[in-house]
Symmetry: C2
Subunit: 357 residues, 2 copies
């Protein structure tokens, strides 16, 4: 009933909701138009939860008192301010956003997304370009977790991506997988380009890391190496059986990282960076063989540190910006979860720990 035809034609990229002058794409925009009336190719979602990007949430924690002792009220106020002033959740420091979960509330007549009213979905495009209005002041959120219960609405464009949440799996489990589903799909594509590649995954015990390890093995890796920050995580990753070798190293220490990967059968033909801390570029480059590839999935990656780091080391490596979109990525990642008990085990343990925290 509220579908609206406007004098301004909609663009599948969402350009028609950008309020900046001159116009930029929604992701780069300072401010989006959050009107609830839809253009004909849009979809409106009733939001139930936001899932903040890990790098973004950590920055907020650091700013407001530090991890473990942060002021949750201050973090909540800042998130509300960002969304109110920008019309989207995009951390001004990290540039990153997150994703959301909700239920389809209205579908414009020209929407190409194939969604129906009542579908429970998650967005696979970033919150940084998704028009968002929070209507409950986030009162059910204590500010101490990336998982943010929320009532409000969001808008999807013609070229957005959303996945329907499967019925046969716990929804938190599906969501944690879909949140990082770009990583395993791109890892698989790169690993297939080598013959029996040695693959090192930095942060191999985490969500995108464990999926990337499973993807590398399925894509024909000759050897997989998981690098984790401490022994507890190493034990969990060993128990999951996702990597041929599991080693402990601080990824911010380039020499330690190089030595750990080399000692486990490296250097790597493909190094996948999945840790959300700054300063891992140098070590990742040093851990990679000549003519190898580094894939940076962490939003904490610095473009100039990577570019100048490789140049400064005279390292002939290909460095990829981890594109979160590969066609079929959500289905591929869900397939890994269903097929690989080790992946499921790690995800379930992580969810249990988060619930208990």
């Amino acid at each position: 009933m509220t579908t609206r035809t406007s004098e301004l034609t909609s663009d599948p990229t969402g350009l028609h909701r950008v309020l900046d002058e001159p116009a930029v794409l929604p992701q780069a925009a300072r401010r989006l138009d959050t009107r609830r009336e839809l253009w004909p190719d849009e979809v409106r979602i009733r939001v139930e939860k936001l899932n903040l990007d890990a790098a973004s949430f950590r920055q907020l924690e650091r700013k407001h008192g530090g991890a473990g002792q942060a002021d949750g009220d201050a973090i909540r106020t800042e998130v509300l301010d960002i969304v109110a002033s920008r019309g989207k959740m995009q951390n001004p420091e990290t540039g990153s956003g997150g994703m959301l979960v909700g239920t389809v509330e209205e579908v414009g007549p020209d929407s190409p997304l194939g969604l129906a009213v009542g579908d429970r979905v998650t967005t696979l495009v970033s919150l940084t370009l998704t028009p968002l209005v929070i209507e409950d002041g986030l009162r059910r959120w204590d500010g101490h977790s990336e998982q943010v219960p929320c009532d409000g609405y969001a808008v999807l464009f013609g070229r957005s991506i959303a996945a329907v949440i499967p019925d046969d799996l716990p929804s938190d489990l599906s969501l944690s997988v879909m949140d990082v589903c770009g990583a395993p799909a791109l890892t698989a594509r790169v690993v297939e380009g080598y013959d029996g590649a040695t693959v090192a995954v930095i942060g191999g015990g985490g969500k995108s890391g464990s999926l990337s390890l499973a993807a590398a093995r399925r894509a024909g890796a000759g050897r997989t190496i998981g690098v984790v920050p401490h022994e507890r995580e190493a034990e969990a990753l060993r128990a999951a059986g996702l990597a041929d070798e599991v080693v402990v190293a601080d990824a911010r220490d380039p020499i330690a990282l190089r030595d750990a990967v080399t000692g486990a059968g490296g250097p790597a033909d493909v190094t996948v960076v999945c840790v959300d801390v700054p300063g891992c570029e140098g070590g990742a480059i040093l851990a990679t063989a000549e003519r190898g590839t580094v894939i940076f999935f962490s939003m904490a990656t610095s473009f100039s540190a990577a570019a100048l780091g490789a140049e400064g080391l005279a390292a002939d490596v290909t460095m990829l910006v981890g594109n979160g979109f590969v066609p079929g990525h959500a289905a591929y990642a869900m397939g890994l979860l269903r097929a690989d008990p080790g992946v499921r085990q790690l995800f379930e343990a992580r969810l249990a720990a988060e619930a208990g925290a």
Copy 2:
């Protein structure tokens, strides 16, 4: 005479000169040890000129009054402060540095670089990781140009790269080419991976852009498109004959850039971003075909804008961090300059304009 054996063994990456705790690589370090005594695998250069990275110099201009009306003294003071406090020239905002020209002053007995005392050289690794001491207060520099006359010394590590400046070409010409020699070499490698690629070079009239256009054609591109910001530059690029099509567009306007490239025979299989202004990520992605590749050479590139931009557009493109090092890059770029009159013409015109400015 001053070669020094230390209790601290030198590392080819220069780690032994990093003063940060815990240790990081020299490029990521806050502060480097600039002692003039050499470790056995090092080389000391008597500096005659610094060549500041374009993105860095523009940031300094903006900070101190804006392009064309900047306070040169303030810019000089800031550069001196940075080098004095960090032991290297690395702009804290852009993270970038530049290169230097000088004469080899001393060669450690174990240096693998093949240099001899008296060689006139340029560094092909960034100033961001090169120990540097300025000894003349930059008094010959007015703060209004990226070219900084300078007396002082710098140190090269075992794994650094320096090129001897050819005798048969004007040295300013050789230097401008070597400054950006990573771009054409990587462009050629990527273009060779496609069959008769359509290649768009954003900033095709600039130094790295014109070399990348020449490299793309030599590497078998089916069509080359140069995108420039205004008609004057378009005329110069057309006269140089380096591109099949030359179009004018503002690279920060994603829709304008997409339409310009599409109208000139795109979308591109390979898009090369060579403009030193922020905000070109979205347009570059939109100008690129599915399964195409975007190579980001600009230090003004934002990692998160690229990663989230592609995801937000559901764009299946490969995005490369422009690695400034490819084996043989300096010789390859000098070969393009010698073989292609159009390249030489653009470089000479640019040098003449800078000299006249």
